[in-house]
């Protein structure tokens, strides 16, 4: 058992009582040992949500808009930009969605395979309901009515260099095809702030290959300050959710239609990033600063 109950109690002060009630009320379909068929462990969820909530509220001070676009029930695909060297953006999105949807919706990301090869990390991700990015996993999640998070830029987008901030990498086509197959709406989002949490100087590719990682970052703080150098700057996040996009079912039969639908999603994400940047400018006022 990765998270004994007493550890959950240790983080209890991080959450207001009504948030604990929401966590405890969140129904996990029990596959036999308290975990759901995907391996989601309610204790792990409680612990992680408590920590994530604190980060969401006090560290990254997330400002988010457009939760009404998220369907209250049924499968949906959340698609947006990825950045920040370490995936704090994914954590904040998941916390944000859980915090501001009623009934709370658990966001389950399609995660890069390498995570599941790393001791503890793979177990942690699985116990939080995050699944390796395979088609069957996507099918299973959407069929059971979950919200699936996809970063179509891929894990490499995390290691975006500073000069490419808020530039979107090409989107993979899988999310559109899968959404079309399940007739699930695609909810785009734009996330602003994560790009500034760490500044990537370079990527040590040979080392990344040796360690089987998608990239090995050299930032302004890492590896110079050791593991502490991986701590992100407390920048404010701005998340904008867009209106659901219904994918043309012909995307299953035509490459052109699929490419067009991918562009539609990408444009929506780009627009939301633009809105996020505008909002941040207004929020920060003429003096700037986060």
């Amino acid at each position: 058992m990765l998270f004994p109950k007493r550890k959950v109690d240790l983080v209890r002060p991080l959450l207001p009582p009504r948030e604990w009630e929401r966590i405890e009320a969140y129904a996990v379909s029990d596959a036999g040992f308290g975990t759901d068929p995907f391996g989601t462990d309610p204790d792990a969820l409680g612990l992680s949500y408590a920590v994530g909530y604190w980060l969401h509220r006090h560290y990254f001070r997330v400002v988010s808009v457009g939760h009404e676009h998220m369907p209250k029930t049924g499968g949906a695909v959340l698609v947006g930009n990825h950045s920040g060297v370490l995936p704090f953006d994914a954590v904040m999105l998941a916390v944000d969605l859980f915090r501001y949807t009623d009934p709370p919706r658990l966001l389950r990301f399609m995660v890069d395979y390498f995570v599941y090869q790393v001791p503890f990390l793979g177990v942690l991700f699985r116990s939080l309901g995050q699944m390796p990015g395979t088609r069957r996993n996507f099918d299973g999640l959407v069929e059971e009515g979950h919200v699936v998070g996809i970063f179509p830029e891929g894990a490499t987008a995390l290691g975006k260099p500073a000069e490419k901030r808020y530039e979107l990498y090409p989107f993979s086509h899988g999310h559109v095809e899968l959404a079309a197959r399940h007739r699930a709406p695609v909810v785009p989002f734009g996330l602003v702030g994560a790009e500034e949490q760490m500044t990537m100087l370079t990527d040590l590719r040979p080392l990344a290959r040796a360690l089987r990682l998608p990239y090995f970052p050299v930032t302004t703080t890492f590896p110079w300050f050791g593991p502490l150098g991986l701590l992100p700057k407390p920048v404010r996040y701005f998340i904008h959710y867009g209106e659901p996009i219904h994918i043309d079912p012909d995307a299953l039969h035509s490459v052109d239609v699929r490419a067009h639908e991918v562009e539609r999603v990408r444009d929506a994400v780009a627009d939301l990033i633009h809105v996020g940047l505008e909002t941040r400018r207004e929020y920060e006022g003429p003096k700037g600063g986060t």
């Binding site: 058992m1 068929p37 391996g39 462990d41 599941y116 001791p119 395979t134 069957r136 996993n137 299973g140």
Partner: protein, 351 residues
């Protein structure tokens, strides 16, 4: 240039399978059963034979294995049960079993192949030849002697597992065809392929069952041997999801497969899925955890000291990555039709 109007002959067009004559999967096979069970000394086989002999719908059971009859079966009704010691890797000996005097009037109608040797300990050329030849000869003899159902008990170890494994593995999941897999896995997959090659036969329903790990006293499955270790040794930082079955449940599933129509490859698994650590915790077993690279060495030492019979090198990724079998297909065709099988309804632990 004119196009030829002739159709390219397919398997269906070649009338190997006439849909009109194919029985509906999940319906009860007619008449009493006369069953040949290869590998009758296995725990699962003993469980299966005891249950079948308790059912009047089973007319006769022929148990075959190398060595003497297991003690648990010594008291069985000799009119309905016969144990024969034979080497199934010898074609003539296999043939002779189908030609026994007792079977002349009423021949066998079902063959269940449980004789596959899956114990990695001392797996050499003899075991390999036994597995390959017994699989070949049994299937071949079954088809020649008019058997209408052939069931091969394979293993979930046939699946390739790793970080990309799906949360539930269906029957069409990737098989472990890596060049460096343990010879048992190669032989298992080869035996499955032999069965698959005959699955379109109209006169015999060929079925492959892939069970998840099987729990039960003395069962030689990986998960059971791991749980019987003192103590089980696991890698640090990994806790795979599993859905093991029990020998009782597997015997019940085999009875369903024997009594009901259906062919193809099916997963059979337990009712509950969960992390390996929770299954251990439920049984009050405390494992010790070692760094992954040291696991093989520690396991070898444990085997030398007689602390375990689990072989970590047999399916090395098993303790790292989840393998949860999706047995929805078997459920839909067989378990939901369990009420049609009177033998199942009378069982004390009937679900």
């Amino acid at each position: 240039m004119t196009m030829r109007s002739e159709k390219i002959p397919t398997l269906k067009a070649a009338a190997l399978v006439n849909p009109a004559e194919t029985p509906t999967p999940g319906t009860l096979r007619e008449g009493p059963r006369r069953v040949f069970i290869a590998g009758a000394r296995r725990r699962v086989a003993v469980q299966l034979i005891e249950r079948m002999l308790a059912a009047p719908e089973v007319d006769f059971v022929l148990g075959v294995d190398r060595g003497p009859c297991p003690p648990a079966l010594l008291g069985c009704d000799p009119e309905r049960f016969l144990f024969a010691s034979a080497d199934l890797s010898r074609r003539r000996q296999v043939d002779n079993l189908f030609l026994l005097d007792r079977l002349r009037e009423r021949p066998l109608d079902t063959v269940v192949h449980l004789a596959f040797q899956g114990n990695p300990r001392g797996y050499g050329i003899d075991s390999h030849e036994f597995n390959v030849n017994s699989a070949r000869h049994l299937l071949d003899a079954s088809l020649r002697h008019g058997i209408s159902k052939y069931i091969f008990l394979s293993s979930d170890a046939a699946y390739k597992i790793g970080a990309r494994t799906d949360y539930k593995v269906r029957e069409d999941g990737d098989l472990n065809l890596d060049h460096d897999v343990h010879p048992i896995l190669r032989d298992t997959i080869d035996a499955e392929f032999m069965c698959r090659a005959k699955m379109d036969r109209p006169d015999c329903e060929v079925m492959v069952l892939r069970p998840s790990g099987v729990f039960g006293g003395g069962v030689l499955s990986g998960v059971n041997l791991l749980f019987e270790s003192t103590p089980p040794v696991l890698p640090v930082g990994f806790d795979p999801m599993i859905n093991p079955t029990s020998k009782e449940r597997l015997a019940r599933d085999l009875i369903l497969a024997i009594f009901l129509h259906g062919k193809g490859v099916y997963n059979v698994a337990g009712r509950t899925a969960g992390p390996l650590s929770k299954f251990l915790e439920e049984r009050g077993i405390t494992p010790i955890r070692v760094p992954g690279p040291a696991l093989g060495l520690v396991n070898r030492m444990q085997r030398v000291l007689g602390m375990t019979r689990y072989h970590a090198g047999f399916h090395p990724k098993r303790l790292y990555y989840s393998l949860v079998l999706d047995d929805t297909r078997f459920d839909k065709i067989f378990r939901t039709n369990a009420d049609k099988v009177p033998a199942i309804a009378r069982m004390p632990d009937a679900e």
